[in-house]
Symmetry: C2
Subunit: 174 residues, 2 copies
């Protein structure tokens, strides 16, 4: 095997490679970058929301964006069985514009153009236990974790279970 | 095998039992009733919407309900590959109340209590090619198809592809 090929193979090892057999649908890293998860559109969606914000919205303002949150099937099954997220849990957040008045839709909103693609990973190597990534709406094949603690401090303070906003996700609440 | 057991087994045959091997995730019938699909929460979600309506909404009225649409993985893969829905395609529609101002959410809406569970099946035995079912928000283990053509006439007139509202579903549009 050529040296460059070996280093690619070594760089793409999944999280927890030294521990129990990692989930095939778990996060993959290229060095310290999270590789954009392939095929996540087949993963379970735990919840959708429109325009969720942490500050009071101005009446009559635009509806905001749709959020749709996927999780890898292994972590979903584990959480449904145990109430705990395993190391290597990966959530994918898609943002879509709120589209309206297309076709027969005279009122309400549906998911229009995608405008964001982000992820969070439960990772025991991280100081906070979780890391957060942005793929610039898919333009980045891999991304480094956001360097500051802003994502996590809010998730930790308000996420109902293990820094995850389970309270907003019907398929994890039930 | 006792006679009543045989009749249960025979009644639960999947669609197209006499044709090519049916998809394991396809619809199952108990006589002429569609059995509520088990494990559909693991299926791909093709789109989410809030308050979509076919008539003009009154400004300031409530936001309506969230719709979330799942499809069986076999049909999803077939459609992504060919642009066609196979016989035995099953869509599941969940409706959730639009919940607001919980936890840190000061604006916007997320999926609250589930208030509806419906399904549509592409079924070559049906005159219209599709049939539509309601499970009374999960209370019914199985359901007969809605007897009138109201569902289908709208789907047929406005559904972009094969009576399906593909135009509202980002994961089928792309």
């Amino acid at each position: 095997m050529r040296p460059w090929l070996i280093s690619i193979v070594l760089a793409l090892v999944p999280l927890d490679a030294g521990g129990p057999t990692p989930a095939a649908d778990g996060p993959r890293f290229d060095g310290d970058k999270l590789v954009q998860p392939a095929g996540y559109d087949m993963w379970p969606v735990v919840g959708a929301s429109l325009g969720l914000s942490y500050s009071q919205r101005v009446e009559g303002s635009d509806p905001g964006t749709f959020h749709r949150v996927y999780v890898n099937p292994t972590a979903y099954a584990t959480f449904r069985g145990t109430g705990k997220f395993p190391n290597g849990t990966i959530f994918v957040l898609e943002l879509h514009e709120a589209a309206a008045k297309t076709s027969i839709a005279q009122g309400g909103y549906f998911e229009g153009r995608r405008v964001g693609l982000e992820a969070s990973v439960k990772d025991s190597r991280q100081k906070d236990g979780w890391a957060y990534y942005g793929f610039e709406n898919g333009a980045l094949e891999s991304a480094k974790a956001f360097p500051d603690a802003r994502c996590h401090s809010c998730h930790e303070a308000h996420g109902e279970v293990d820094s995850v906003f389970v309270q907003f996700y019907p398929n994890l609440r039930k």
